[in-house]
């Protein structure tokens, strides 16, 4: 259970960081505000779950070695175009819904997170509808699909496949953090590592 929750929290933290990379450069001003706000929500969900697991959420978020993070490779990818970014948001939200609703009976926090995710899903779905017929978006979904499967444990993958109307393929599994993740981790923990001893936030 703890490993599953830590993976979930790490997913939320890292997708929040990756999506924050669009702040200031999203395709239109309104979307810039919305996308940044959603990214912050995801980081907020990560914090709430870290707090369940530990008395020191910051330590859990920032003081581990890159190899100790359990996030799925999907959220680690450094995506440089909007089509891929929206394809990831959409695939991630569908997968996240399956995972979070399965937890709701035993974890009240999951229901709370799910209520906020409803707006994220609305946002992702409206973008998907708009981009669905473009070759760029279709290619991005094809490319990211094996990664999306890796967000969920094997027993939840057929639910994801039927939701997005695709056939299951071999998933890109957790535990394969690469150099791009190390670079992100370096950036993400920079301020914390440079803080003078005893600094209070």
């Amino acid at each position: 259970m703890n490993e599953l929750l830590l993976g979930l929290a790490d997913d939320e933290l890292i997708i929040g960081w990756r999506d924050s990379e669009w702040t200031g450069i999203a395709p239109m001003l309104e979307e810039d505000v919305a996308f940044s706000s959603i990214a912050q929500n995801e980081i907020g969900h990560a914090r709430a779950v870290y707090e369940l697991l530990s008395d020191d959420a910051d330590a859990l978020a920032f003081d581990r070695e890159p190899s100790e993070y359990l996030c799925a490779p999907l959220v680690q990818l450094h995506l440089l175009d909007w089509g891929h970014t929206i394809a990831r948001r959409w695939l991630y939200e569908v997968a996240d819904e399956i995972r979070i609703t399965a937890l709701m009976d035993e974890l009240p926090l999951a229901a709370k997170i799910n209520r906020e995710e409803a707006y994220h899903r609305m946002h992702a779905e409206m973008w998907r509808e708009r981009l669905a017929d473009t070759p760029q978006f279709r290619a991005a979904v094809d490319e990211l699909w094996p990664y999306a499967l890796g967000v969920l444990p094997p027993e939840q993958r057929d639910a994801l496949a039927s939701r997005v109307e695709r056939a299951e393929v071999e998933a890109v599994e957790r535990g394969t953090n690469d150099d791009a993740f190390t670079a992100l981790h370096e950036e993400m923990t920079m301020v914390r590592r440079s803080a003078p001893a005893g600094a209070q936030w």
């Binding site: 239109m28 001003l29 309104e30 979307e31 505000v33 919305a34 706000s37 959603i38 707006y119 609305m122 946002h123 409206m126 708009r130």
Partner: protein
């Protein structure tokens, strides 16, 4: 397409114009307005109105000095001043 955003602070309060969002349809307008006018809990409800649907009235005829119809009535400041000057000048 520009959508005018009206927001309500609390239930029962009047909706007030908050600003606008540019969005291609109502769905995008909702998503963006939620983030820009509600993410800090500052609104309990929003009205999103396409700018083209707003019927604007901004021309008024006021050709005959109809100030007496208004609740603030005549301004007597100028007349008072004249009267005081007359009084100061003494009886004629």
């Amino acid at each position: 397409m520009i959508w005018e955003v009206f927001r309500q602070d609390r239930k029962g309060q009047p909706f007030e114009h908050g600003g606008s969002v540019e969005a291609p349809d109502a769905e995008f307008a909702e998503a963006w307005a939620r983030e820009q006018y509600g993410r800090r809990g500052e609104s309990v409800a929003l009205w999103l109105v396409p700018r083209g649907a707003v019927h604007v009235v901004d021309e008024w005829a006021d050709e005959f000095d109809l100030k007496y119809r208004r609740v603030d009535g005549y301004s007597i400041k100028a007349r008072l001043k004249e009267a005081r000057e007359r009084a100061a000048a003494g009886p004629r």
